[in-house]
Symmetry: C2
Subunit: 130 residues, 2 copies
């Protein structure tokens, strides 16, 4: 389970699994690519500063990833695969499951780079906007 793994990573790094951190984590589990304010709305009991600090911490542990797809910063759980579809007209962000990557052509081995995860953004126009 997601939260369990996150707690493990925190403890392993010498960090405490506080109620505030768990609340932020739960907010992140509920929906992907939320803005700071959206996250905050899901855990109003946690102070603003703590949300920032928690997102930082989770980011440095590789649990959360910050992304900016044109509007402000957004946060999401760092899945190993992540595939976004972004409409350049209306700005809508959606996700799709099937991974279009050919692992053979990833820069593993080559370039001496060890691949752990990836995030793909496909830009274009959604059905509604065409």
């Amino acid at each position: 389970m997601r939260l369990g793994a996150a707690i493990g990573k925190m403890r392993g790094g010498g960090y405490k699994a506080t109620p505030q951190r768990m609340a932020v984590l739960r907010a992140l589990v509920e929906e992907q690519h939320q803005s700071l304010e959206e996250i905050r709305a899901r855990c109003p009991e946690v102070g603003l500063v703590t949300v920032y600090r928690t997102l930082d911490l989770l980011g440095s542990l590789g649990i959360v990833r910050r992304l900016d797809l044109g509007d402000g910063a957004r946060y999401e759980l760092a899945e190993n695969h992540h595939h976004h579809m972004i409409c350049e007209s209306c700005g809508d962000i959606s996700e799709f499951e099937e991974c279009p990557l050919d692992p053979e052509r990833l820069p593993s081995g080559r370039a001496d780079f060890e691949v752990r995860a990836h995030s793909l953004e496909v830009y274009g126009r959604c059905g509604a906007c065409r």
Copy 2:
């Protein structure tokens, strides 16, 4: 040529190709994924506000893309293909050319989405950090 196409897009949208805008464009051509301050250092004669406004404009014209890979906002010319390799240890960002995408598995047609461009971020550890 890049700059020519950009000027065309600006004119076409009813916008003027001013010296300031051209200076920002030239800065962007010199290097990809720069921070605002890095861009500004390459065209110190352009006012801060104008740099922001120009990046906005170029963004809305699809010429420039803003991205955030963990540190602050960065800007890059919006190539149709873009492949980043990000080291989670040292934060270094590099690019690679070969496109590992299988076009057949992109969400074109399916999902009613018209694909125009993509950006791929591969996360892992670079040679130096391993």
